[in-house]
Symmetry: D2
Subunit: 260 residues, 4 copies
């Protein structure tokens, strides 16, 4: 069984800031947002977590392995270096969506995202070492088959992007509804999903659904571990097995379905 | 009439690089990608262009105002500071999709995106000063009505994100098919579209379509200018007029429909 | 004759900020300072200027080729992305030290560096295109002979650094007093000097002085151009000639002394 | 007694890289160097270490609290994101200069800094948790008295800088020779020294020496801790006590001299 620790990262009162005293240059906002994300990726990633840019003003991180002090330090360090501050809401649950639900609720209870007085909230609490286990995180790394040959080298970039995007939109909705998993586009033709303990059949169904509804052919590597990086790195290696063997779904280890 | 200059930015042979000699840490890839984008946003943005992250390995820039030497310098500078290099394909056309089509074709002709020998291609050519005009670029800045109250403060972050994402997926497809416009999600609840000369009615139709199909309520500010920044800044100010007056579509100046 | 345009970049009210409400983590300050410098290096550098980190809270830029609008944009963009703002003081003079004197005076007149009310000052004015000439900037690029063999591979890093540092301290003082030139350490074993029109003999004297007083052996490439990059790039190529021919002083072109 | 763990960070074969295939744009090198330093500052700093830019191609880090795995991860992550790689040499000793001597020797034994085949060396070993103690690191944070009033607001920036620089050059040499301490300029008017267990009298002597030789008036806060950040943060607070009480030397706790 998984036990995912998710942290919602929310820029405090960002909307009003972007237009005060008048609208700010869009490319400065884009720079700010993507560098803030890069800093989170380094901080969280070097502690074996994952973070996804999501909407940039709200980002979702898998933080198994990071404790309360890490969260405080992150918040403090961003506050020292950016013109904006961040609030952090932590939640833990076997189901990723429930974990995020509780992480989000922690911030919502403290006030609105656009409440000028609500700054640097840190809500929820992290897993103690004793509560952590080697199967806490399951990561699925999806990838489009031959995206280069089918799209990048043939269509104009926007039409390639539409294909990838519609594949992503379909997968994210399906996995959310069927499996309570959270899926994030990570660039190129890659989607990473934070999943509960799912079976090979579940993944096969998801791939079939995306193929039928959006016409996009996916393969997926699945990994399990104590942290997002452990699980995600195993998933990447499993994905390489898909590539070598021409298979669709590969797990990094004897998995749930076999155990059934 | 618009005359959009678009530059496709493509990381050379990126797919193979990400798994050589073995898969690289995902958070390092995320950092690399988002910082590369941030650097492009600063370079292009400080010359009054816009760049969108799109798939991160392929990015789309509106480069009216940047000449060939600017493109060369950008390519050179990235090559000096990153472990990867970029190719650039420039296209110019009254229709944004045609401009991108030709920019993309320039790179495709030179070889595959995953061709190890194809590096730092610079194809196509930029507008001379004499060819440029004050109406070359039309930018529409879309924004979700009360995203904070309806989504951010009420749903868990993933479900908020799904709403925004489905709104974006619907809009991008619609504007591509109906109007040859290119729409990019820029974070938060904002979508920026690079448009040909469109009318107020065209924008109204798009907003209605997204409302009906995805249930997401948008407003839009539209601006026109010699550069993406000029047009986009005017669009942002027009969007503020939407906010103040409670309207759906605002242009920065007497526009096409009136002229009809 | 040279005509150097120098811009002093000063972080507004930085001292008090670093200890408010209590001292900030030093590594966050270091990160902030070095990234701010990197952003200036990209902005100024991609417009063919040079910027030196100097004290980090006060930086000196050679900005021939950048106009008033460039300076405003830079100030605006930093203000959009950092928790601190910058003031800019521009000065122009055949003598680099006089140019900096006038750039500094512009800010000093506006108030103290630690005056909480003095923000985003932009003083002085830039050269018009008509006033600019191909010999406006002279850059000397100094480099220690065989620093790797004599220091890096033999001494502990601090003792290597002391050698380089004492060489730099000696050179900076000498060139300031004798020639009104401004010298900046740029990392490794390299020093870049912004010079008035100096002769081969002047450079020889400087090298001899540093050798005698600090025991550090230098070579130097000297370049002249309309911008810092043009002059500096020529200086780098001249330095390569020193390396190949085993000479001490090389100019990129028939120079002053010959003309005497 | 202190027990400082120092890590030498050396860019592999950097000199040749900067001029291959021909000299690279100086501002790109400056950007690369300062961003690399910023990334180290975040990685090391968020683990409570300190890093100093020193020569940028060789940087010195105080890494008490970082283990071998942290060093490997850092090396790996830089290799994934930069066009250059780094070698790391770790040394531990009660005397900072001895620790650095041994860290440097580890790399020197593995080959020259400009040996094209010597890449990503990781030499030496880190303190185990059992070996660590609360007094392992002593940090002195020096600051110039009224630098704003005496220099910044009165002299041109280069002459201000010369004052600060000569003060630094004097202090670094003195503390190296008298006390085996390593001193680094960290911007503004600040110098941070990594010290063995020194007494109040030792610091007083250093301040007097700098005043007499360079005419620069310093105050200093001294802190001790298990990590550089713990020690350095205590030093900063002690420095605030100097400011409030008008004193020259303040320790964060009952210190050596009292104990004598
Ligand atoms: N974020 C991320 N993106 C990746 C990774 N690997 C590849 N990509 C992206 O995926 C794009 C396409 O690369 P590939 O998936 O190797 O190419 P392909 O043509 O689809 O070929 P196959 O997947 O082997 O069928 C690259 O340009 C990258 O943007 C990864 O590990 N992480
Ligand atoms: N990229 C970008 N994002 C913006 C901009 N302005 C706002 N946002 C984003 O939009 C989010 C929501 O802010 P608003 O649109 O002001 O808030 P809202 O609740 O939707 O309110 P109304 O739009 O006024 O109805 C913010 O958190 C930002 O992420 C902008 O100019 N550019
Ligand atoms: N900022 C900057 N630093 C450089 C440049 N070229 C070299 N360096 C630095 O100088 C250091 C030493 O490199 P070299 O000068 O090539 O080596 P050397 O051993 O002194 O050899 P010679 O100078 O050829 O005698 C490198 O590690 C870099 O840090 C440059 O163009 N700009
Ligand atoms: N790196 C670093 N620099 C600092 C810190 N505090 C101040 N500075 C720098 O020091 C400069 C001068 O600030 P202060 O030392 O506060 O000003 P001062 O005029 O010397 O006044 P007193 O030191 O109070 O006499 C600032 O611009 C900063 O660059 C710090 O904690 N770390
Ligand atoms: Ca693929
Ligand atoms: Ca909105
Ligand atoms: Ca040298
Ligand atoms: Ca001071």
């Amino acid at each position: 069984m998984t036990n995912t620790q998710l942290s919602l990262v929310q820029i405090d009162n960002y909307g009003p800031w972007t237009v005060t005293p008048e609208p700010r240059r869009e490319m400065d906002l884009q720079t700010l947002q993507s560098r803030l994300f890069a800093d989170l990726a380094q901080f969280v990633g070097s502690r074996n977590g994952y973070v996804f840019f999501t909407r940039f003003d709200n980002m979702v991180a898998v933080t198994n392995g990071l404790d309360d002090a890490d969260h405080e330090l992150l918040q403090d360090s961003i506050g020292n270096r950016y013109p904006v501050t961040i609030s952090l809401g932590v939640g833990v649950d076997p189901s990723p969506i429930e974990a995020l639900e509780s992480g989000t609720a922690g911030l919502q209870t403290a006030g609105s995202a656009q409440d000028g007085d609500r700054r640097e909230v840190l809500s929820g609490s992290t897993l103690s070492d004793a509560e952590r286990a080697g199967e806490d995180v399951q990561i699925a790394h999806f990838d489009v088959n031959d995206a280069t040959g089918k799209y990048t080298d043939r269509l104009n970039e926007f039409d390639s992007f539409i294909q990838i995007e519609q594949g992503y939109a379909t997968l994210m909705r399906y996995l959310r509804e069927e499996d309570d998993a959270l899926s994030f586009f990570v660039g190129g033709d890659n989607i990473i999903s934070v999943c509960p303990a799912m079976t090979e059949g579940d993944y096969r169904d998801a791939i079939r659904h995306v193929s039928e509804e959006a016409g996009v052919e996916l393969k997926v590597g699945v990994g399990t571990g104590a942290t997002a990086h452990d699980a995600g790195f195993a998933a990447k290696h499993a994905l390489e097995v898909c590539r070598e063997d021409g298979t669709d779904v590969e797990f990094d280890r004897p998995h749930a379905e076999l155990a059934d």
